[in-house]
């Protein structure tokens, strides 16, 4: 559906996007994960045809986005990172305006506005001015405005920044509904939980470069760290540790009353049985799952968020 090849863009002396390539398949939710300033918005701006690249090509549904920008514009819907709405107009007036720009006949447009407002759950507030909306509601209208021309592909640039968990969940449900209806979605974020929940495939971007891409499980294989369980005991003697090490060969580290065991959740019961046999009383158990955060840390040596 989308092929991005060797795309680069620099601003003055900042290399915002540095020779990135990726392919997005029809019907998938593709995540672009990276910290602030990684180059996500710059990439999406180029894919939206409003920013010229320095090098590289973008093909959308087989069309070169620079040569066929008008056709591409009709294929894509874009949810900008900023809330790009007229605050002094109502939600309905905003949608009417943005839909009009795509040349949708008035009658059809009004029907679409109705169904879209229904989808995002703001039908009852349509007459209110945007400036009276909460952050989460504005974000939802910001999404609705990108849907009216029924794009095949939706670009979403950090669509949940700064909103409450409830609105965020609502937006996730909308995205999943749209995806089920066959829409291809490109989703950028710096929240790894979001890509873990939503995305089929993920590209991790940092300092303008893609440092890893693939499905979630493919990415997890990239890192050496395994899932581990940390036990805390009320009391742990030297001899207890030796006994445990014998019985559980994957014990990796011990620190006072804490013990780190490298294992999967499935083997948790076995560890607990062993502890019971040794009559050790467990104070706390902590599960360290391998997640994208850990992958990012592993690949860049940095936290995804500060």
């Amino acid at each position: 559906m989308i092929q991005v090849q060797n795309l680069s863009k620099s601003f003055q002396n900042i290399q915002a996007v540095n020779d990135i390539s990726f392919t997005i398949k029809k019907g998938e939710i593709f995540g672009l994960l990276g910290p602030n300033g990684a180059g996500k918005s710059t990439t999406l701006n180029m894919m939206s045809t409003i920013l010229k690249s320095d090098a590289g090509t973008i093909h959308i549904d087989g069309k070169n986005s620079r040569e066929n920008s008008k056709e591409c514009k009709h294929l894509i819907g874009v949810v900008p990172q900023e809330i790009s709405l007229y605050e002094d107009l109502s939600a309905y007036q905003n949608l009417l305006f943005w839909g009009d720009l795509y040349g949708i006949p008035s009658k059809i447009l009004k029907e679409r506005i109705h169904t879209t407002l229904e989808l995002i759950g703001l039908l009852d507030r349509k007459k209110d001015l945007i400036k009276t909306y909460s952050g989460g509601m504005k974000r939802r209208i910001n999404i609705a405005a990108a849907l009216l021309h029924h794009p095949k592909i939706l670009f979403m640039d950090e669509p949940t920044v700064g909103i409450d968990p409830q609105s965020r969940n609502h937006i996730f449900e909308v995205i999943e509904t749209l995806n089920k209806q066959g829409m291809t979605i490109v989703y950028t974020t710096h929240y790894m939980e979001e890509v873990e929940r939503l995305c089929d495939r993920i590209a991790i971007i940092d300092s303008g470069k893609i440092i890893a891409q693939g499905t979630q499980s493919q990415l997890k294989e990239l890192v050496q760290t395994k899932e581990s369980i940390q036990f805390e005991f009320n009391f742990l003697s030297e001899s207890n540790v030796d006994q445990l090490r014998e019985l559980l060969p994957y014990t990796v580290a011990q620190n006072e009353n804490k013990l780190l065991v490298e294992t999967t959740v499935q083997e948790l019961s076995k560890v607990i049985t062993t502890c019971n046999e040794l009559q050790l009383s467990i104070k706390d158990i902590q599960l360290n799952k391998v997640n994208l955060e850990a992958i990012f840390l592993n690949l860049t040596g940095k936290q995804l968020r500060d």
């Binding site: 601003f11 701006n45 939206s48 045809t49 409003i50 920013l51 008008k70 514009k73 009709h74 874009v78 900008p80 900023e82 809330i83 790009s84 709405l85 007229y86 605050e87 002094d88 107009l89 007036q93 305006f97 943005w98 009009d100 720009l101 795509y102 040349g103 405005a145």
Partner: protein
């Protein structure tokens, strides 16, 4: 497409109550102040100066010369000798009110007690002064010619050289309305143009660019919005001046409408030009205020052009204000026919076209560049 954006811009414009106050109420207050300041309102109390009357003596006899000397001793009028052709031309151009012409055979007619061949050619637009001159001259003839027989034969033939018209507007009023309206218009137009920068900051410009809309259309729609507001604002100002101060706006309403359209076009293009030269709202704020005040000062919006020194009057032509204000004077004061005003309207249109072209180039460079 342009129309969709234009309609949205107008809707936004009129949803802002503060903007409407600035567009309509403030100019009305300013016009009222200036109208009083320039003396366009109320009774004129300047001491009566003698009314100048051109006199052409084609008879050139002692009788005619003596009579002219005697008439000149009347305080209310001042006779200026002239050639017929020149005198007629001066009256036509509105430089003089009337020309008194003594035809050949005047002295013979006096001697023979027949009808006197005298004609008074005048500018009907100056009805009020004309009536004074007419009655003063008639009295003068009666008194100085003295003979009863002759008096019966004094039938001062009058001919109007310029089309009859109700009243001519007071120049102070034309100055107050025209000058102020254009200056205030520039401010509202700069604000409308600034909307483009607001859209850039708010991100709606980005969404406009994402949509299949030609960038040029965004600029033209903004200019269209500015034009609609200009036309409304200028019309409101003139209707106000008519209602409040009796400015005769229906005297040549067609020319007035055309002139308002030309000014609106020039001013709107000036607005988008201003905006496309800057990158942020703050830059616009500073720059537009300075440019508008300067342009209004040299262009005659604050001080009437004819009160400026000659070199200032020459500089004035670089401003939109000058051409607009002169246009209003052509209509309300000089009362020129439309054809004579076309060059000024042409200049306004040319200014508008030039600025629009420059704006389209700058707009691409400064405003729509995302980087």
């Amino acid at each position: 497409m342009i129309f969709t954006i234009l309609r949205k811009d107008l809707r936004l414009y009129f949803s802002d109550k503060k903007g409407i106050l600035v567009t309509f109420l403030l100019p009305i207050i300013m016009i009222t102040l200036f109208a009083f300041a320039f003396g366009g309102v109320g009774k004129k109390k300047s001491p009566p100066k003698p009314l100048k009357v051109l006199v052409v003596d084609k008879d050139a006899t002692t009788a005619s010369q003596e009579l002219i000397a005697k008439l000149n001793s009347i305080k209310t009028i001042q006779l200026i000798t002239s050639e017929e052709e020149k005198a007629v031309d001066l009256v036509r151009k509105g430089k003089n009110i009337a020309a008194l012409i003594f035809e050949k055979g005047f002295s013979d007619a006096v001697a023979a007690d027949t009808d006197l061949p005298i004609e008074l050619k005048y500018d009907a637009a100056r009805d009020f002064q004309m009536r004074i001159i007419h009655s003063v001259l008639k009295e003068g003839f009666k008194y100085h010619l003295g003979k009863v027989d002759v008096i019966n034969n004094i039938k001062l033939k009058t001919t109007s050289l310029i089309k009859e018209s109700s009243t001519k507007a007071h120049p102070g009023l034309v100055q107050a309305v025209g000058g102020t309206a254009i200056m205030m218009l520039l401010f509202s137009i700069a604000a409308i143009g600034g909307g483009l920068l607001d859209e850039k900051e708010a991100g709606t410009l980005k969404r406009l660019l994402i949509a299949p809309v030609k960038p040029l259309y965004i600029l033209l729609a903004k200019m269209g919005t500015a034009m609609v507001v200009s036309i409304l604002q200028l019309s409101a100002m003139f209707v106000f001046a008519w209602l409040a101060f009796g400015l005769p706006i229906f005297m040549d309403v067609f020319s007035l409408i055309l002139l308002i359209l030309c000014i609106s076009f020039a001013v709107s293009s000036f607005g988008v030009f201003l905006v496309s030269t800057v990158k942020t709202r703050q830059q616009l704020q500073g720059m537009s205020t300075i440019i508008i005040i300067l342009m209004s000062a040299i262009g005659g919006s604050m001080i009437p052009i004819n009160m400026m020194p000659a070199f200032m009057q020459k500089i004035a032509i670089i401003s939109v204000n000058y051409w607009g204000i002169e246009g209003f004077f052509d209509i309300f004061w000089r009362q020129l026919p439309l054809i004579a005003m076309l060059p000024k309207m042409g200049i306004l249109l040319a200014i508008g076209l030039g600025m629009t072209l420059v704006s389209t180039v700058l707009f691409k460079k400064n405003i729509i560049a995302i980087e």
